[in-house]
Amino acid sequence: MSTFLDRPASAPGAPAPAAGAGPRVRRWLRGRPSALAATAVLALLVLLALAAPLLAHLTGQDPNAYHDDLVDSARGGVPLGSFGGISADHWLGVEPGTGRDLFTRLLYGARISLLVAVGATALQVAVGVAAGITAALGSRALGRLIGGATDVMIALPMLVLAIALTAVVPPDFPRPLLLVLVIGVLDWGGTARLVRAQTLALRGLDFVEAARLSGNSRLRIARRELLPSLAAPVITLAALKVPTNMVIEASLSFLGVGVKPPTPSWGQMLSSAQTWFRADPAYVLLPAGLLFVTVLAFTVLGDGIRTALDPREGSRLRIGTAKERSA
């Protein structure tokens, strides 16, 4: 309902249908070491996450096995040894209290964290795109309705929904999926607004009119004419949303609505680590550092994709070429 929100945060302005996005991105990447590094970091992370069982097998560690002998029970369960109990067996030390192997837990945690963040983003994008297109192409009333629904979703606190959903779904419903649902359902407003604005702008373009004139149905127009042009801004937004969702997952875990034990996630590790940062700094620094690096990588990549897909980038201060927009 807020009209000028229609120019959303990271909207790359008017729909600028970039031609040949793939090669552009690749070309862009080649010239930019930071983006290349970000891509490499993310690829490595995904690889490590995928290979978690294998790596666990290689190190001979079970992420859930307790090692009571590795912690000092009388002192709150702080790991014995230095740097959080780093040893030949436990490359990154062990978890206070339980003595579980941190290296494997972080690996397994990456699976959940990445899965939840990417999944939630996918859901947000799917819902947001559907809602945005419907709002733009549907009747005025429908647009209003979706605007209202967005407001409802913004105002509905995540925890209320999380707890309610936790209750409705059966206990053996996978938690990561539930988190994806909670985050995805609540936070699609931004995408919807972006897509709505872009669609409205695109709708007036002649090629959409031409498609109409050829007798295409609305659905077909949305699918064949609009979606491809929406891809660039939406992909950009999505890349920037992934890290945000990671932090949200961490916060939900902190409030006790996260993944189920013994499954680790970075967020859940961080939240249980928060009190340990003086007694066992390694325990906090590891998940925090990983989260930070991932967020950094996603953000750099997201910014990169945006610049690569925005044809006006690189010609930011372009002079005397108003014509291309005056049409």
Partner: protein, 553 residues
């Protein structure tokens, strides 16, 4: 009762925690708490032994003995001259008030006000207290409180004169003096009763009165009640002039503030926040900090509960196998390590007041006995192990939460028992475990005593008549053994508490043979105080630092 927080006594520790020197009057005591005093109405409070901050404002017929350690588990007179005079079969208890008792406004405290205070705790608007009055007083089960009784009152509380009050019980209750410590026994002048608004400014009978109460108990300011006569009160010391309660604080922040002890925090204590394992590890070898840590024990048990109506837990051998397999070291570590939890093999806490009698029917050693467990499983007909579901709470409370559950999971895995975890949101978890019709087969549970005796510990858990089918049921095993029921009744008749204790201990040991629960650990509470705080007294009643004893000068 289940709602009680935690605390403990400095029994074993050498030297009293806190600053040295004789305590003196004066100064402001700051209380840094996590939970706001949302309920400040004596009718609604459910606190064992008279409570913490409320005990500064409410005096009751009896109260807990404000001393360190085991001595603190005794009940002593407060408003009353003695612990009450029972009739022959302990179904009638008579109390007489001390002389010179006054409210904060100088008006005298009468037994009629105590009767009224108890009656109003029956009102639905003021629910929240312990169930005993309703269960014990004649006519209690149907009484709906003074707002709906047309002025008739509850007949089983008789007030022959302003100083005497008589309670008529449905059955013998030798532990009535313990009950009389609860805040429902605080006097409430009928004229001052403002219903649900009474908690905003409850009329004080204790050493302090409420000067400010904002944010529904989030911040409280208490000042001296000049009409409180120390001569009538041997228990409360009331050294500080003012008590400034700040709540709603994060636990980590409370402990950090106490440890930093800067400014007003030097004269600060907390009544509801323990030191966590990380903080304990951090204190480590810091002598100064360690000297400010008090240790408390509370009659509390964390255990694995079975519902023998659910297969395979209907098979005693399965329950025994699990008892053998449990690794209490892992569990204790999950609970915060040996400083914060003591492994338990008995249901009753290891305190004389509860009637503790040692036993270990299914010895698992320190780290479990998987071999023996496997053997028993084979006998039970599960030579290849089995898969069970353990229900637990998602709350990160280090008791019924995921940490303990995964420790159990790991221990049982060694014995060939695969444990699937069913974590529920805190409310859902409680609803499940208290729902007699739908109790899970195998779950984490806990129980705390309403007063230091075996009675409130064993009766709600194992008395077959206390199985509640459409309310909160604590008899998880739904044990209804006539012999047990009869023994509970017999012990209740005893007014000699020491004798009663021995019989509770014996009963515990007897029930333990059935392996209806696997005792896991008794928590230990570590509490930090500000650097200027003196006279730290922690009784074994609740393990709570006694706020009425501390001095800041």
């Amino acid at each position: 009762g289940p709602k009680d927080a935690a605390g403990g006594s400095g029994g074993e520790s050498s030297g009293k925690p806190g600053a040295a020197g004789a305590p003196q009057k004066g100064g402001t005591l700051t209380v840094l708490n996590n939970e706001p005093q949302n309920d400040f109405d004596p009718a609604r409070l459910y606190t064992s032994g008279g409570g913490n901050v409320p005990s500064l404002v409410f005096r009751t017929l009896t109260t807990r003995n404000r001393e360190d350690g085991p001595a603190g588990a005794k009940v002593v007179p407060d408003l009353a001259t003695d612990l009450g005079k029972p009739n022959a079969d302990a179904t009638e208890w008579t109390y007489t008030l001390k002389d010179g008792l006054k409210y904060e406004d100088g008006s005298p405290i009468t037994t009629a006000d105590i009767k009224y205070g108890i009656e109003r705790s029956f009102a639905a608007e003021l629910s929240g207290g312990a169930p005993y009055l309703r269960d014990w007083l004649v006519g209690g089960e149907t009484y709906e409180g003074p707002y709906k009784d047309g002025g008739k009152g509850l007949d089983s509380i008789v007030v022959p004169d302003a100083k005497t009050i008589v309670f008529k019980l449905r059955k013998p209750e030798g532990e009535f003096p313990f009950l009389a410590t609860q805040t429902q026994f605080a006097p409430v002048p009928k004229a001052k009763d403002t219903g649900v608004k009474y908690e905003e400014h409850p009329v004080s009978s204790g050493p302090y009165k409420v000067v400010k109460n904002t944010g529904d108990g989030e911040t409280l300011l208490l000042e001296r009640n000049e009409n409180w006569d120390p001569k009538t009160d041997e228990e409360r010391k009331a050294y500080p002039d003012r008590i400034d309660v700040r709540s709603g604080l994060d636990a980590a922040v409370i402990n950090q503030r106490l440890s930093t002890s800067s400014g007003p925090d030097a004269a600060a204590v907390t009544t509801d926040t323990n030191l966590g394992p990380a903080e304990l590890a951090q204190i480590g070898d810091n002598k100064e900090l360690a000297s400010r840590v008090g240790t408390g024990h509370f009659g509390y048990i964390n255990y694995l509960a079975f519902n023998p109506k659910v297969a395979p837990f209907d098979n005693p051998k399965v329950r025994q196998a699990i008892s053998y397999a449990i690794n209490r070291t892992s569990v204790v570590n999950a609970a915060g390590g040996s400083a914060l939890a003591e492994p338990a093999t008995t249901f009753l806490p290891e305190r004389e007041a509860f009637g503790y009698t040692a036993y270990d029917h299914f010895p698992a050693g320190k780290t479990g006995n998987p071999a023996k467990a496997k053997e028993i499983l084979k006998e039970a007909g599960y030579p290849d192990g089995l898969t069970v579901t353990l229900t637990h709470s998602n709350a990160q409370n280090r008791q019924t939460g995921p940490e303990t559950a995964t420790a159990v999971q790991q221990a049982l895995a060694a014995a060939g028992i695969t444990v699937k975890l069913e974590g529920l949101e805190a409310n859902a978890f409680n609803e499940r475990r208290w729902d007699a019709k739908n109790t899970p087969g195998f779950f984490l549970s806990r129980w705390g005593a309403d007063w230091p005796s075996g009675g409130p510990f064993l009766a709600p858990i194992y008395d077959g008549r206390q199985i509640v089918t459409n309310g909160s049921n604590y008899n998880h095993a739904q044990l209804n053994d006539p012999a047990v029921n009869a023994e509970i009744d017999e012990i209740a008749k005893l007014t000699d508490l020491a004798a009663a204790g021995k019989r509770w201990g014996a009963l515990d040991k007897k029930i333990g043979e059935q392996a209806l629960a696997v005792p896991l650990f008794h928590p230990v509470y570590k509490r930090l105080v500000g650097k200027d705080v003196k006279n730290v007294v922690i009784s074994d009643w609740t393990g709570v630092l006694d706020i009425s004893q501390v001095a800041v000068k």
